[in-house]
């Protein structure tokens, strides 16, 4: 009997509902931002481990340092102009210096040099000077543009090994993989590889030599990979979890929305008609609902994905095809109670055709319920899609939280204590689902008694 | 001798619109072996009054003033448990408005009769049950049936049987005949008359159908908008109702579906925003200035008591 405005008014009184709505708007804005801010091929970048070498792998979020964990963040040097000097006899030298302060008691996880240039330089020379004055000189012969040279690469590590040999007097072979960083950061001496990390100022000078003039880009970079990363840490390949979470957001929302609108609208109309017409046809429609209810969504979708390639829309519609029975069952019972109310009978008595009655008087009564369940249905769709992604079934070229969690599962992140890799993507599913549930419950509470009140 | 008595009883329902004064300062009494009626149009507060007297109000409804005396004891002051053990059903039983739905749908009639007998320490044998059903002219086979397998009239009678099962002193019946056909209505009223005579119980009968009870009740209260407007022996009342509302009520033909009584134009006032003065004023053909200003007290007119400035 009360109009739309009173629904809105009542909704605005529900604290949980309003919080949900605010969260929802925030998520929507965020996902629009993601769609606009990242290139459309970002998913393939995400799936290529090469792209993430500049990040520390398996790094916890940086804020753990606030909790007293010594996990320095990464440092990136990029964008500096190259000073050039002709050194005579047709040789050209381009150089750049970096200076940074290291205050942590642990070494970085790696250092990565990424030259960007056009032309063919002869060699790149890196002079690594420690706070105690010792220097390690590294020569990279004919460097390639767009390559990433890290401390464990042969090009760099051989020079480090020489330095270790000079300091410790033992053979190069005793340096195990990864100990290059100890050589670069620990206090010098015979116990170089087990010495404490030197805190202080490090100077790194890069010289690129060439026989002909070349153009060195300011986008060349030197990265000191830390032991922590961003707000949410990184996975095994150094991919930032926070990026994965952002990239997964539009997919989750879109899939949830499409799924639930399709499932609820079909389910409610189907269940509504079923309850309204009653009799044998109702019996048949109920049976039909059962047939779809009995299809186990998860294994069925898995099996189907071997027959057809999924796209976002086809996945959403398939999920909808498997979840509408829930709404049909609810709508049917609401329909039965609406039907028992007097005005529907009165309409009948006045000779209005059943069909018209259904759409003019009956469906409007079901609309509020439909809206409430659409909202409540969205998280169900999101959950199922993420679960499928966790099982490895998702449209290609889409980043999913379920997929990230699948990786975490395969790598046994929970057992290795890489909690951030498990916690944040899963939490995100909850965070995205919760506002819908809050809004849905609030709507349901407003709408339900009015429908069932006799 | 007075058995059950309400004194200055007021019941309200707090709502978002304000407090609905469903029952306002009502005095009512029921003597031993007496058959008393309460009449009034829909929404007058009859059911609320009865439920309040039996401590059956569901929140938010609550008694805000007055007392209910049973054999002189104020039963509103007892603890829930005490009242449940010593009074409910054993002394005060009620046939509800809509008693059709008074049975728990998933138990047979017989088992529900037995339950109530057993819970109050009475003998709960099959023969007791069939005797009980016999008193309300029901066949023994009813006992093994579920409520949904009975007709409305059968359920109504079965519920009366249940109300009588512990031989209460007072039986309150709230519209025991609504939604029944005319013949069944008459049968039920006759049944109540007979039972009262045979079992010697006091009956408080609530109805909006004056014609139906005219021969049954000895005394009558007429309620309007939460208050009693007329009270007296039914002989006097039916000979000539005094209150303009009672007159309208008697000449009107109440129907099941409409809340409005055709004989009296207009509606009940909003119980959450009662005007001062007599509440019937807006609908009263004899309304005077004083009616708008002051609430009329009950005063003796002939053998009756009437709340109206006309007298």
């Amino acid at each position: 009997m009360s109009g739309k405005s009173s629904y809105l008014e009542e909704f605005s009184k529900s604290k949980a509902g309003m919080i949900g709505l605010a969260l929802l708007l925030f998520l929507l804005v965020l996902s629009v931002y993601v769609v606009l801010a990242y290139p459309s091929n970002i998913a393939s970048t995400w799936n290529n481990p090469e792209s993430w070498q500049g990040n520390p792998a398996k790094a916890p979020p940086t804020w753990v340092t606030l909790l007293g964990v010594d996990a320095p963040p990464s440092l990136e040097f990029k964008g500096g102009q190259w000073a050039n000097a002709s050194v005579g006899s047709g040789n050209y030298n381009y150089s750049q210096s970096y200076t940074f302060k290291w205050t942590s008691k642990v070494t970085p996880s790696n250092i990565v040099f990424s030259p960007r240039f056009s032309g063919t330089p002869l060699e790149a020379e890196m002079t690594w000077s420690k706070p105690d004055g010792q220097s390690i000189v590294i020569y990279i012969a004919s460097p390639q543009t767009n390559s990433n040279y890290d401390a464990t690469d042969q090009d760099i590590s051989q020079w480090i090994h020489q330095f270790v040999e000079a300091q410790t007097g033992t053979l190069q072979g005793t340096v195990t993989f990864g100990e290059e960083l100890d050589a670069l950061f620990d206090a010098d001496g015979p116990n170089l590889l087990s010495n404490p990390v030197l805190q202080g100022t490090y100077h790194v000078r890069i010289d690129v030599l060439s026989r002909s003039p070349i153009a060195l880009s300011p986008s060349s970079s030197l990265t000191v990979d830390g032991r922590s990363y961003g707000i949410m840490g990184t996975d095994l390949y150094g991919r930032p979890i926070q990026l994965g979470i952002l990239l997964g957001l539009p997919y989750a929302l879109e899939l949830g929305a499409v799924t639930s609108v399709a499932a609820v609208v079909f389910g409610v109309v189907f269940g509504g008609i079923s309850g309204y017409i009653g009799g044998r046809r109702d019996g048949f429609m109920q049976w039909f609902t059962l047939v779809f209810l009995a299809l186990p969504a998860l294994p069925f979708l898995v099996a189907i994905s071997y027959s057809f390639t999924l796209s976002l829309i086809s996945e959403a519609l398939l999920i909808a095809a498997l979840s509408w029975p829930f709404y049909a069952i609810i709508a049917r019972s609401v329909a039965l109670s609406v039907k028992s109310q007097a005005y529907v009978e009165a309409d009948r008595a006045m000779g209005i055709s059943a069909f018209r009655t259904f759409f003019t008087h009956f469906m409007p009564r079901l609309t509020p319920v439909t809206i409430a369940y659409t909202v409540l249905g969205i998280p169900a769709g999101i959950l199922l899609a993420q679960t499928l992604a966790f099982l490895g079934i998702a449209p290609p070229n889409i980043v999913t939280w379920g997929g990230i969690l699948d990786e975490a599962f395969v790598q046994e992140a929970a057992l290795f204590g890489w909690w951030w890799w498990v916690f944040f993507p899963g939490m995100m599913i909850v965070v995205v689902a919760t506002p819908f549930v809050l809004v849905g419950f609030a709507l349901d509470k407003i709408v339900s008694p009015k429908v069932s009140a006799k | 001798m007075t058995l059950l008595e309400a004194k200055g009883l007021s019941i309200v329902f707090p709502t978002s619109r304000g407090e609905v004064k469903a029952v306002d300062q009502v005095d009512i009494s029921l003597g031993e072996r007496e058959f008393v009626g309460i009449a009034g149009e829909s929404g007058a507060g009859k059911s609320t009054l009865a439920l309040g007297m039996l401590r059956l109000l569901t929140p938010p409804g609550k008694v805000v003033a007055g007392e209910v005396l049973f054999h002189g004891t104020d039963i509103l002051k007892l603890t829930d448990e005490q009242f449940r053990k010593d009074y409910r059903w054993t002394k005060l039983a009620m046939v509800f408005q809509g008693s059709m739905n008074g049975f728990t749908p998933v138990f047979t009639i017989g088992s529900q009769l037995k339950e109530v007998l057993a819970l109050h320490g009475r003998e709960a044998s099959d023969s007791t049950i069939s005797k009980l059903l016999e008193t309300v002219d029901l066949d023994n086979s009813i006992a093994s049936r579920y409520p949904h397998e009975l007709s409305g009239g059968q359920k109504q009678r079965a519920f009366i049987a249940m109300a009588l099962s512990l031989e209460p002193e007072v039986l309150v019946t709230d519209e025991p005949t609504t939604a029944l056909d005319v013949i069944t209505q008459a049968t039920i009223i006759n049944l109540l008359k007979r039972l009262r005579k045979e079992l010697g119980i006091s009956v408080l009968l609530i109805t909006h159908d004056l014609a139906l009870i005219s021969e049954a009740v000895e005394r009558l209260y007429v309620m309007y908008a939460g208050g009693v407007v007329e009270e007296g022996p039914s002989i006097d009342f039916f000979a000539k109702p005094k209150h303009p509302y009672s007159q309208g009520l008697l000449t009107s033909t109440p129907t099941l579906t409409s809340n409005e009584i055709k004989g009296i134009p207009g509606f009940l006032p909003d119980l959450a925003n009662l005007p001062p003065g007599c509440r019937f004023t807006p609908r009263c053909p004899f309304a005077m200035e004083v009616c708008k200003r002051d609430y009329p007290p009950l005063k003796g007119v002939g053998g009756e008591r009437v709340a109206c400035w006309l007298y």
């Binding site: 294994p299 027959s307 829930f326 409540l376 079934i393 549930v437 | 039983a93 728990t104 998933v106």
Partner: protein, 349 residues
């Protein structure tokens, strides 16, 4: 409707529903099913060829080729290849319903067999144990909590239930499993992180069963935690609306105590609805139940599906899907029967 009639009608309708559901499934997996059958034909053909060469050394290459081709044709004919589509459909459905799933590509049953039906037979009981126990616990606890919450409307329990229910709708069961592993298995070291028994299992029936229970606890708890809130929420609303019905008030007037009204009259009245809700819960918690197996490496059909996805073992995937459909339908059928037993309108008469 008498109960017997109810039973007959429901049984027939569920049996027909089974065929219909499986037909939909069949349409969905049609391309992959054909592929699997052809692969099987090729594999069997190769085996046949080897045995032929071993047994009859004097056969020419051409003769062998002919015999193998004939063998393959017979094999494919069993599945209705080169027959009209309806016949093919009927034949392939018949093979599914008689559990002729062929052999797996990689997966082996614990007894070493590569027959998909024996693999399924080994994994299925574990799924049933986990899922049934979980569902029973959820239904029992959810009903009790829902009833208690409705009894003290507006109380602490009552107000906290919607929050628990929010969990239900937004928590992936498998993720909760993860957290449980990280916390109870990794941090506290209270429970094993996965599997169904220790390796090697302890000796003796009782220690062995205890070991099994220990492994069951975490997956069960994850399933329970995720589902119980939603169920309690539904039961609470059901009980709540029932408490407003006339019969509750009249029961009170009859001097029946509040607890007896709640736990006898109200509970019995809503129990058919609880059965209906349990049916829905069976259907909606199914996905969670089979993914929780993956996380805890509980050797049920869920884990089998996951591992088969990793190894692209299509015959196994098709078979588990088919079996899980039957399991789900059976669960729904049992729920329906409970409903019939509980509702006097069906039971009596």
């Amino acid at each position: 409707m008498t109960f017997r009639r109810f039973l007959v009608v429901k049984t027939i309708s569920y049996a027909v529903a089974l065929v219909a559901t499986v037909s939909i499934l069949y349409v969905g997996i049609y391309p992959s099913l054909q592929r699997v059958i052809k692969d099987q034909a090729t594999a069997e053909g190769q085996q046949f060829q080897q045995s032929l060469v071993r047994a009859h050394a004097n056969l020419t290459q051409k003769q062998i080729g002919q015999q193998v081709a004939a063998f393959k044709a017979t094999f494919l004919a069993q599945f209705g290849f080169n027959q009209p589509l309806p016949v093919k459909f009927a034949l392939q459905l018949q093979n599914l319903f008689t559990f002729h799933f062929g052999s797996s590509y990689f997966t082996l049953a614990p007894n070493g067999s590569n027959q998909v039906s024996s693999i399924i037979a080994a994994y299925l009981p574990n799924t049933i144990v986990l899922f049934t126990t979980g569902t029973i616990l959820v239904v029992l606890a959810g009903s009790i909590v829902g009833l208690l919450a409705a009894r003290s409307a507006g109380g602490k329990l009552d107000r906290s239930i919607p929050f628990i229910a929010v969990f239900h709708s937004s928590l992936p069961t498998w993720w909760v499993g993860f957290l449980f592993i990280a916390f109870f298995a990794y941090t506290l070291n209270l429970f094993p992180s996965g599997g169904i028994n220790s390796v090697p299992p302890p000796v003796g029936l009782v220690p062995r069963f205890g070991d099994f229970l220990l492994h069951l606890t975490l997956p069960l708890a994850a399933f329970f935690v995720v589902n119980v809130g939603g169920f309690a929420y539904v039961i609470r609303s059901l009980v709540f609306s029932t408490m407003g019905e006339d019969f509750v008030l009249t029961a009170k007037a009859r001097g029946i105590s509040n607890n007896r009204i709640l736990f006898r009259h109200v509970l019995r009245t809503v129990s058919p609805s609880i059965a209906t809700q349990s049916i829905l819960n069976v259907a909606s918690s199914f996905a969670g139940a089979i993914t929780v197996e993956v996380v805890f490496r509980w050797p049920g059909l869920g884990l089998l599906t996951y591992d088969s996805i990793l190894s692209n073992d299509l015959p196994v995937i098709i078979a588990t899907t088919f079996i899980l459909t039957i399991v789900l339908l059976l669960g729904l059928y049992l729920g329906e029967l409970c409903y019939g037993v509980l509702d006097p309108r069906i039971r009596s008469g």
